[in-house]
Amino acid sequence: MIKLENLTKTYPDGTEAVKDVSLEVEDGMFCVLLGPSGCGKTTTMKMINRLIPITSGKIYIDGVDVTTVNLNELRRGIGYAIQEIGLFPHMTVAQNISVVPWLRRWPKSKQRERAEELLQLVGLNPSEFMNKYPRELSGGQRQRVGVARALGADPPILLMDEPFGAIDPITRDRLQNEFLRIQEKIKKTIIFVTHDIYEAIKMADKIALMKDGELIQYDSPKDLLYRPADEFVADFVGADRALKGLQLIRVKAVMGPVSSTVRREDPASLAGEKMKEEELDQLPVIDGEGIFAGWINKGDLPGDRAVGEFMTPADTTVEINTVLNEALSLMLDKGLVRLPVVDMNNRLEGMLNFEDIRKGLSEASGQSG
């Protein structure tokens, strides 16, 4: 657990960057420090690994005052990722990832194993990327390596300063989703700085909203959206909070069940019968392992031929952990009334329609109907 107690930073010229901030971040929690630029969020974060000295107040990690620990040892136990990434240009991807393991004198073979494992985790093929240099990578790939490097020696805590800030929106969305998936696996205690409220709502378990060095509200994204503490929070959250609320909800929470399906090798007439029975115009088609294959539409479906011959192959699907605004945008974009929901292996898990989305939203905001 990370505990900040009356944390204050005053610079020699008298500016108070952080004023009396107290907050607790439980183990495994994703905590976002959010606020406009100059609000003290980065300063707060950098005091945790003592890149910025504390003026007054205390920071405890698992009950230990950070100022009593050897500085470099402290930092080696805390993963650190920044917007500019700061990969070492003269080191390969593998060497970059292995910096902290190297500092900790892990054996070479273990360093290598760990680098491979981490590259896999962040979605880069180890055999392809281990020996590349940073300048041979795209922006998104560099940031993945940056995240892998922060995870180098498997620290329990991660500090991330706008790590996805300088990346194009599409890649950013993808990296955010991937990072959430990674976090589900690794369960780190994360302090994540951003000024982007969408990112905060999407990623956080708890958001600490700061303004002029003060902590204004420390709450779950839902409470921040629907129970703002004051005018400033309400303004910061914005008038379109219903739309932002879509970020809070994942597809799996609101999707409907799969009505009925047909298999690719079933006789086409079976599909016709099922559609008549359920009063539907189309049915999802799956193959042997339950993987979503496509749609079959109502029409002339002779019994002596297989469903597969008439089916429209799968194009648009949504992953089960996607947030609702992305799913909704996809549906509007592609003009779909029903969106097939699949798991990581493309297995069909459910169906999402507009009514599901509306219901999810009203539940989140606490209004019924």
């Binding site: 470099n72 930092r75 136990g77 500019e84 003269h90 910096v99 902290v100 500092l103 940073p134 490097r149």
Partner: protein
């Protein structure tokens, strides 16, 4: 590749020119210098360049690096400014000023050459360390590298090629400037060139100037290859190429 062809062509031309002049043996009533004289003065010349470069590098690199450290950072413009004076004064004047102070001899030439050679070395050492992206240093600190580890594993390898560029540029300049050593009682290829100047004999001037140019080109090329060798893989032209 193209670069080495240029170097070879130029070298062949300069050697050819020297050989042609030397084969004339006499111009008007004057004797030209012999191959033996050229070899002897070339050795003197290169000794002078090597010694002054050794001293200039030994002073310039640490000086340039020290002024990037936090404690001395404020002194950087001042130090670079002072070192720059050495170069903004014409080299002939530097040498001339040194002569009455240190006497008409080898050492006053060396001191003058060192002063003259310092600026590119100091400037590039400073820039080489200073231009490393602050994000790289911050990441290193944030991961728990000590100052010493950062210096050795991050700053040194990244700055090395830029420092080396400074040394190379400085060497090339010094080869030329060392011609003037003869004016304060020194030796080197300037002996030949200035005999030509005094005698107002262009052929004689060229007999000293051509080997000097050849020396500058060859030394520059060798140092350039060395520079490429010590540039860490993964670091491209964006780090090299400060002049």
């Amino acid at each position: 590749m193209r670069r080495s062809i240029v170097v070879i062509v130029l070298s062949v031309m300069l050697i050819g020119l020297t050989a042609w002049i030397t084969s004339q043996e006499k111009v008007g009533i004057l004797d030209l210098f012999t191959w033996g004289d050229i070899a002897k003065e070339s050795r003197n010349h290169i000794k002078m360049v090597a010694l002054s470069m050794l001293i200039a590098t030994a002073i310039g690199v640490p000086l340039g690096v020290i002024i990037t450290r936090r404690v001395f950072k404020r002194t950087a413009p001042f130090v670079i400014g002072v070192v720059g004076i050495g170069q903004s004064v014409p080299s002939l004047a530097v040498i001339a000023i040194m002569a009455p102070v240190l006497g008409l001899a080898f050492q006053s030439a060396i001191v003058a050459l060192v002063i003259y050679a310092l600026l590119p070395i100091v400037r590039n050492s400073y820039a080489g360390v200073n231009n490393i992206s602050p994000a790289v240093i911050e990441a290193a600190r944030g991961m728990g590298m000590s100052n010493w580890q950062i210096a050795r594993k991050i700053e040194l390898p990244l700055a090395r090629p830029v420092v080396m560029t400074g040394v190379r540029i400085s060497t090339i300049i010094t080869v030329g400037t060392a011609e003037l050593a003869v004016l304060v009682g020194g030796t080197g290829l300037g002996v030949i060139t200035f005999t030509g100047v005094v005698a107002q004999e262009p052929l004689l001037i060229l007999q000293g100037a051509a080997p000097t140019a050849l020396m500058a080109i060859l030394l520059g090329y060798m140092l350039e290859i060395l520079e490429l060798k010590i540039t860490p893989s993964g670091v491209g032209a964006e780090v090299r190429g400060y002049g």
